[in-house]
């Protein structure tokens, strides 16, 4: 998706180009770019893209929101845009209005669990929560004795231990200890933590695919500029073949992520077909982040290893995004179990159903 073809993406790309230029951000050691960027995104209604008008959002379609996340990946945007979008989407499932400001979702890993007790209080320890430190509110999926509920929680009520992921973005541990939510409602029938992990995984897949598109772009450009042994390194066949492989990884990530986004945007429920699409996207995009990012670094040589160069903004973030909402290993095991459970002769019909 090199050219934006919808208004949401166009708006976002303009804001990213003006206020999230990777080189400018990279030179800014104080982080003074963050506030103006968040403000511009908020004024354009983008963090609450997936929240209907009557719940305080801008009511964009799932498809437009996914395309926006792909664009955010192309700029390696490091503000809680995806996280606030997911939180707003989660709250909208039970018609809880979204407050203004940054949000994130709990849990952010399929291994963690928040419980709801008989007194209506929430407890649980959630690791690897992206941008918890910056969040004003948490959208929480909790398990009680009557099933799954969705809650809006004031972030000040939880204890947040700061951490950084491999891409230098906040990835924190949040502990809720008998926290009373601002609002809480039972989740719709059939909605569970897996659904949240799947859509979160697709969001990350789209971001990884976007980052790979940019890594391909800047690697091709660099190879056409850098001279070694008296010629541009793009003229060496070994470099060309490496870049061709990077193009393949970038293409695979984009195809898997956009296909999964399309599947979720048009799905009536999270059935086996949607599960295949979303899990496969996270697995394949994570693999591409490793293989593709590795090639981008190899092409750049030492300069790409410096903190001054923008490459790490994409390469490290793409690697970090692998871990959120279930790693590729997690999804591979789950997908493998699903395939085994359906049986050998049902594998092809599942693949061909997409």
């Amino acid at each position: 998706m090199a050219e934006s073809d919808n208004i949401v993406v166009e708006t976002a790309e303009k804001i990213f180009a003006d206020l999230a230029d990777p080189q400018t951000i990279n030179n800014d050691k104080k982080g003074s770019w963050q506030a103006p960027l968040w403000q511009a995104l908020s004024e354009a209604g983008l963090p609450l893209s997936w929240v209907p008008d009557d719940l305080g959002g801008s009511g964009a379609s799932l498809a437009d929101g996914f395309a926006l996340l792909n664009a955010a990946g192309r700029f390696a945007v490091a503000v809680p845009l995806a996280e606030t979008m997911l939180a707003g989407w989660l709250l909208a499932q039970v018609k809880i209005a979204s407050p203004a400001g940054e949000m994130t979702v709990l849990p952010a890993s399929p291994k963690d669990r928040v419980t709801l007790d008989a007194d209506g209080a929430l407890s649980g320890r959630c690791r690897g929560v992206p941008f918890a430190k910056a969040a004003k509110h948490f959208a929480v999926l909790a398990h009680g004795k009557d099933g799954v509920s969705i809650a809006l929680v004031d972030s000040a009520k939880g204890r947040t231990e700061s951490g950084l992921n491999v891409g230098y973005d906040h990835s924190d541990i949040v502990t809720l200890d008998k926290v009373l939510p601002v609002t809480i409602k039972p989740a719709p029938k059939g909605f569970d933590q897996t659904a949240l992990m799947l859509i979160g995984g697709v969001a990350r897949s789209l971001q990884i695919a976007g980052a790979l598109e940019s890594m391909l772009d800047i690697s091709v450009r660099y190879s056409n500029e850098r001279v070694a042994f008296e010629k541009k390194i793009s003229k060496f066949q070994a470099v060309q073949h490496n870049l061709a492989r990077l193009a393949g990884e970038s293409a695979a990530a984009l195809a898997a992520a956009t296909s999964a986004a399309d599947a979720i945007a048009n799905a009536k429920s999270f059935d086996d077909e949607v599960y295949l699409e979303a899990a496969a996207a996270k697995i394949r995009c994570a693999e591409a982040a490793e293989k593709g990012g590795g090639i981008a670094h190899q092409v750049h040589g030492a300069i790409g290893f410096t903190i001054e160069h923008i490459l790490h903004r994409y390469s490290l973030r793409a690697l970090a995004w692998r871990d959120d909402f279930g790693s590729e290993s997690h999804w591979a095991v789950e997908l493998g179990k699903l395939v085994a459970d359906r049986g050998a002769d049902e594998l092809w019909p599942l693949v061909a159903s997409r």
Partner: protein
């Protein structure tokens, strides 16, 4: 962005699913009747003329071509469904596959009308088999180094020289080949080759089967000695074959056959591990299925672009690069994962027999129809590196 690669999430239209059911039902009948064994990928019975005619009778050959030539004027996406179902079932498609995918479309574009009227309906009926004469003993990937001569004579050309690695030449009724009609020029080393239709099984053509490491004899050396080809068998521009080759490559390189060649071992692995796999098997299978799904989505996307009249040559090359490397590695990954399969698994022997064959097949997959190196060169050109 310099590299505007597109892989839009194309979905197969609803009518494809009805067609898929029909194809599956047809194949199930053929299997039940003993035409072929879906667990035997080595296709020793690969030349199945009667099966080929029955596929033709279903209207599944040349299905995208105009009705006046025996086609059905259906979409590439419908053809895609037929192709993938045949491949997954290990159906014996050798007799018609090349003609349907490649030779027919070349004739449609470049053959004179009377030849189209003669040959295309016979392809659609599943009656005739085609081979492709490209490689020569001293020119493979470097197509434009071909030396087999076509020398002008009364009413046509005399062919002298040798083609090699020609799949199915031993059973083929026709070959579409490139021969040298002029020397290359200083400005254009690709100049001087012409595409011809060759009627096989005639004096002046000798076909010598070549044994392969799989134990099969499916490719050949084809020797031409003063073999006469009439003028109306010239396809397209004399000396200009190089202009005609590229656009067809997108069709040739992006289909389901470019990642499903060894698929059967994955199915059999899933059967062998059973409904409750250990973590290692589950993760291995999950990754392979994710990779397979992704490639199929890429391949369907290219089919959608072709249907829309685009020429996604770079995207198609990416599908073949990634797809063939994957299908080449697949038997080895499956072997890894099968190492701890219970001795009692009922299909253990089938899986072992299949792995034995797939592991021997694997090396050819990144060579036939355009080597990985050639493909990466095309992709690099598309990226603006050459």
């Amino acid at each position: 962005m310099t590299a505007a690669l597109r892989f839009d999430p194309i979905r197969l239209p609803e009518k494809c699913e009805q067609l898929r059911k029909e194809v599956r039902a047809f194949l199930a009948e053929e299997i039940a009747a003993g035409t072929f064994d879906p667990h035997k990928p080595n296709r020793e019975d690969a030349d199945a003329p009667e099966f080929s005619r029955r596929v033709g009778a279903k209207g599944w050959l040349g299905m995208t071509w105009p009705k006046k030539y025996g086609g059905q004027e259906r979409s590439f996406l419908e053809r895609y469904v037929v192709t993938e179902e045949m491949r997954v079932a290990n159906a014996p498609t050798r007799r018609f596959f090349v003609a349907d995918r490649q030779s027919g479309p070349v004739l449609l574009k470049y053959a004179p009308e009377h030849i189209k009227m003669d040959i295309l309906p016979r392809i659609c009926r599943g009656e005739i088999c085609f081979a492709i004469g490209m490689s020569e003993p001293n020119s493979g990937s470097d197509l434009f180094a071909a030396k087999t001569r076509a020398t002008r004579t009364d009413g046509g050309y005399l062919i002298n020289g040798t083609k090699i690695w020609t799949s199915s030449a031993h059973i083929a009724d026709y070959m579409i080949a490139i021969f040298r009609t002029s020397q290359p020029t200083k400005e254009n080393r690709r100049h001087g080759l012409t595409q011809f239709l060759v009627k096989m099984k005639q004096p002046g053509i000798k076909v010598n089967p070549i044994g392969q490491i799989t134990g099969q004899y499916e490719f050949n050396e084809v020797v031409f000695t003063d073999f006469f080809v009439p003028d109306d068998h010239v396809l397209g521009e004399v000396d200009g074959a190089w202009k005609q080759a590229t656009s067809e490559l997108a069709y040739e390189r992006s289909g389901p056959e470019r990642f499903l060649e060894t698929y059967y071992v994955l199915t059999e692995l899933v059967r062998a591990v059973g409904p409750n796999p250990d973590t290692r098997s589950a993760e291995g299978i999950g990754r392979l299925v994710a990779q397979l799904h992704t490639m199929r989505r890429m391949s369907v996307s290219v089919a959608g672009m072709l249907q829309a009249g685009k020429e996604p040559v770079v995207e198609a090359s990416i599908v073949k690069d990634i797809g063939t490397v994957w299908e080449q590695q697949l038997p080895h990954r499956v072997r890894d994962l099968a190492a701890f399969v219970e001795e009692t698994a009922t299909n253990r022997e089938t899986l072992e027999r299949q792995l034995d064959f797939a592991i021997k097949t694997a090396p050819k997959l990144t060579i036939q129809g355009g080597t990985t190196e050639v493909l990466r060169g095309i992709i690099a050109r598309g990226l603006g590196l050459r």
